[in-house]
Assembly symmetry: D2
Homo-oligomer: 352 residues x 4
Amino acid sequence: MATKSKIGVLGASGYTGSELVRMLLRHPRAEIVLLTAERSAGKAMRDVFPQFSPFDLPTLLAIEGLDWGKLGLDVAFCALPHATTQKVLKDLLAQAPGTKVIDLSADFRLHDTAAYAKWYGHEHHATELQKEAVYGLTEIHRREIRHARLVANPGCYTTCAELPLIPLIKAKAIDLDEIVVDAKSGMTGAGRAAKEAMLFSEVSEGFHAYGVGHHRHMAELDQEFSLAAGRDVVVTFTPHLVPMNRGIYSTIYVRGKRGRTPEDLHAILLKFYMKESFVHVLPFGEVPQSRHVRGSNITFIGVTKDRIEGRAIIMSTLDNLVKGASGQAIQNMNLVMGYAETLGLEQVALFP
Amino acid sequence: MATKSKIGVLGASGYTGSELVRMLLRHPRAEIVLLTAERSAGKAMRDVFPQFSPFDLPTLLAIEGLDWGKLGLDVAFCALPHATTQKVLKDLLAQAPGTKVIDLSADFRLHDTAAYAKWYGHEHHATELQKEAVYGLTEIHRREIRHARLVANPGCYTTCAELPLIPLIKAKAIDLDEIVVDAKSGMTGAGRAAKEAMLFSEVSEGFHAYGVGHHRHMAELDQEFSLAAGRDVVVTFTPHLVPMNRGIYSTIYVRGKRGRTPEDLHAILLKFYMKESFVHVLPFGEVPQSRHVRGSNITFIGVTKDRIEGRAIIMSTLDNLVKGASGQAIQNMNLVMGYAETLGLEQVALFP
Amino acid sequence: MATKSKIGVLGASGYTGSELVRMLLRHPRAEIVLLTAERSAGKAMRDVFPQFSPFDLPTLLAIEGLDWGKLGLDVAFCALPHATTQKVLKDLLAQAPGTKVIDLSADFRLHDTAAYAKWYGHEHHATELQKEAVYGLTEIHRREIRHARLVANPGCYTTCAELPLIPLIKAKAIDLDEIVVDAKSGMTGAGRAAKEAMLFSEVSEGFHAYGVGHHRHMAELDQEFSLAAGRDVVVTFTPHLVPMNRGIYSTIYVRGKRGRTPEDLHAILLKFYMKESFVHVLPFGEVPQSRHVRGSNITFIGVTKDRIEGRAIIMSTLDNLVKGASGQAIQNMNLVMGYAETLGLEQVALFP
Amino acid sequence: MATKSKIGVLGASGYTGSELVRMLLRHPRAEIVLLTAERSAGKAMRDVFPQFSPFDLPTLLAIEGLDWGKLGLDVAFCALPHATTQKVLKDLLAQAPGTKVIDLSADFRLHDTAAYAKWYGHEHHATELQKEAVYGLTEIHRREIRHARLVANPGCYTTCAELPLIPLIKAKAIDLDEIVVDAKSGMTGAGRAAKEAMLFSEVSEGFHAYGVGHHRHMAELDQEFSLAAGRDVVVTFTPHLVPMNRGIYSTIYVRGKRGRTPEDLHAILLKFYMKESFVHVLPFGEVPQSRHVRGSNITFIGVTKDRIEGRAIIMSTLDNLVKGASGQAIQNMNLVMGYAETLGLEQVALFP
């Protein structure tokens, strides 16, 4: 039997943390040896997530006082709040330079320190690491990820918008100045912090936009779209909240360039993702539903034509906790560790 | 005490029918004397809608065999399926020419018989009535509605998109060739017919678009926007389904024309609706939520700026069964009958 | 036009507070002159409950510093947290002895100070008022309520269990030692405080019991059932949480005494509530649904036979925020002020 | 690599069918070679369940015309409607006597043909097979299941009530004449047939009982409880519908016999299930939640004391589509085929 990697999950009491544990428990090459949670330190994982009651898992620890060198983790998944992450990872990688890190926070996603300071309101505290970090949109940056020590796992909204748009931008197939991304997210995207606005009674049976004109994921979109285009690209992006637990759904309005029809755009995407296990392009004209990827690491993409000549409507959907966070993180771990990319990620969607 | 109008509700076993009954039961000038339902003829209203169990209501009848002249209805609300409506209303108005009709179907909304035939797949069977019908978007066509005998109550999606856009189009304040309406609806918009796709387990915990590029409400949008603009206007419109009962939410992407800023657009809407009871424009930058108009006849409109210079994002929301259907129908009845426009429609939103 | 009562709502930023405002805004004899909210003092009501944006309402104030004598309220609704209430009401009634108080907290529901201390963990701080307070289960204690200055509005679970059971206990029709009340509540019953356990993602798509064997509403049940029976009665009571906003549903298992059949029990309830506007007993064998009383002040009760000879299953349901809290509070205000009991409470249920 | 069993799923277009496919796709010893669906015959599985779009699966066929002998299935899962099943399985086992059958319908669960006729309203059409069939409550009848050719997979409600009660009945630890099972189910338990009562708008945001006093699963409970007790046992059982997709939750009221305390009952269950992979007894006093077993094959059981001396409240919960149907069916297949019992069933619960 193959040896297992020693895995730590930092920030195991949040939803991306529990989702990592859910999948790592069944990953044939993973052994969870460390779980941390600041406010719940000393508790059992079953006390914060009762679904793990039947399983043996390490007790939750506080990060303060851990000896990273002694722990000798092969892989650390970091699902800590923004800013905290920078400090923790600086320490960790100083003490245990051989540990591979998959960071699920936003802290290392932006290559440009000025952009970081602008969107996050303060200077970056680990600029050396920021330079080293590789942006973990697996299907796009697979080659660099394989050799990375620090992978900055992309945001859920951004993964959902970038997977359909980057191939089209690279192919110079769409007008870059007229892209509208109308995005909708389930409630787990808001995390597990106790906020009035996230109470069941505040969010069920209704729908609304938020962060209109100024959501932080825009910075990631700008970076990756501009990189793909070789020029600055700024898109319109509006996030909304849907009364459901899981799922991101992006409805994307584009205009084909130089005579590209919606069918052409579909063909580009179909070809681009033909060999991918986790991006599935539906037949032209079919519309995806978020529920059909729930619990799986798969993204569904559909392309249809608008009734306005030359315009296409593209829909993409993924599970924000899986392909939009912990699933892609494990996919990146598999690359970094040289495992088969799909290992531990084979779960078929849970519908209904 | 003022006399009451004799009211009939045709098609009382569907959601817009029950919603009419809910509000008419408390309308001080309304007396429900007729309820029809084809498949449930002979049943009590409480058998199809148990919430009416404590109230006295007429037994459900089939339309076949009714003597409209003898019934002498003052007002008939018609919530029948499309096409059926044309035949029924031709008979009704022939036998009882003095009855006022508020039709909630799509049958009389399009003035252009060619457009009707194109979108509905067959010739119109009551073209004389089609010419007579007045489009019942109350705040826009109030004057004609007052004198109408047959009011074609608008669709829910269309009301939600037209209320914010028509004033801007009339004011020549936005670019007419770049309007995107990303619309989301609760499940009652799909009606009460037993369809697999509308089962709880098929629609809860997920999100999806439908009718992409070819939804029938587009025809109404085209008619009203073109009328307001004095030229042909074709917008991009994508409907989606949200796992909630009630609510339409439109996120509308526009570009100001001739230097109009998002703030200017807001000012136009604020002024246009200043004296309206049922359209409420939020302060600039505020984002509405569908839950805050649930059960009420009020539309909330919010205007924000996009981060792209010159573009605005407008959000409007209403309860599809109230302002989007039965509430606006009663508002139109009030106009037609010379009652105070808000009569029977004062209910404050039910949140949470 | 009749004069209006000057009304204050203490604790207007919670769900029972907003529900009071929703109904009082349309109550023909009510004028809201005071709204309080400690943490939101200084804000507009629309800032904490955007559904009130179109309406003129007083700014939210802190209680500290109010001059109750000067305010001269006719009625104060008190929707404050437990314990706080005792202090506030002692002050209020000392300064403004003519103000009528409808208290929605649990503070004055228990007549027995020892029972209070046992269930709430500390001595009562306003024992004089506790003696004066009248338990506000309207249909049962109507006579005393009419003359009360301080009405202790019952809990939602207790109202739902007491309305069907008290008439049967009074009629000595059921075995008192074998009553099981399996109760289910929507999420608004848990209030608006930001708690992790009440987040959308924690409570949607699942079901669970809580407070098993030790829920505080038991004390109220004990008091009222024992009062009705003339001896101590202790029932089994288990509350559960349902992923819905509104509604309490009680499934009650009883055994008929001295040959009473389920049909007999039904007849007793039917007769007891024959003339009541807000308690509706369904035909024998019919099963109520919580959704059919949503937003209304009505309780539905159904009685069926168990397949075990002599046993009946009784189901009752109400909207926890209306008949289970704010609606019954207004019903009690109507009694106290000598208004028609149904005033401002005529709203028909909002279904779907 | 071990050889794979050739598997057929009869009735693949329903929820238990799709759930079988979901798990069998990842079962290391299963190869799906046949999928049937009458009304959808000729379609691809992705047309009826889009979540399977990325996977290769056989085209849906009609049963009529299949040559069971030629197909040579190792295992047939039968998820057909009641009554149809009898005819199909008689043919199948006549033509292919070596095929093992796991039947998910109710057709072979009752050993007593008179009981069958009483509860289902007609004579049984395959009485020979009825005698042969083994009741597939795995943890209780494991030994017989290993040698069975035809396993009658239990109902979801019954599995949830039988797992906690049978060990207590066998141990003679509870009063047999006073058992109340108050059961709650998610909507997938109602199947995928298009019925008005199961529409999203009819069932969301509400709660209700149904089948009160006469639900067919009672017959199964009677059979298994009486078998365990060695005498007739009839329990009170009331099913309810919860607005969620998955999950059964049973709140069970019992009285300890001969001095058995709630703690004793807990100890009995803990011991009984100590070595089981799919039944997890929580520490005494802990209350399970249905969401923590969602998507997994595990049952959670909690035991608490009632405040009434000698009475206990037991709560059990499972995923109705997994342990309540398709998961237990695969567990039974594993036994019948001699595979490890947990094969293909290791999925950790998907929460949130």
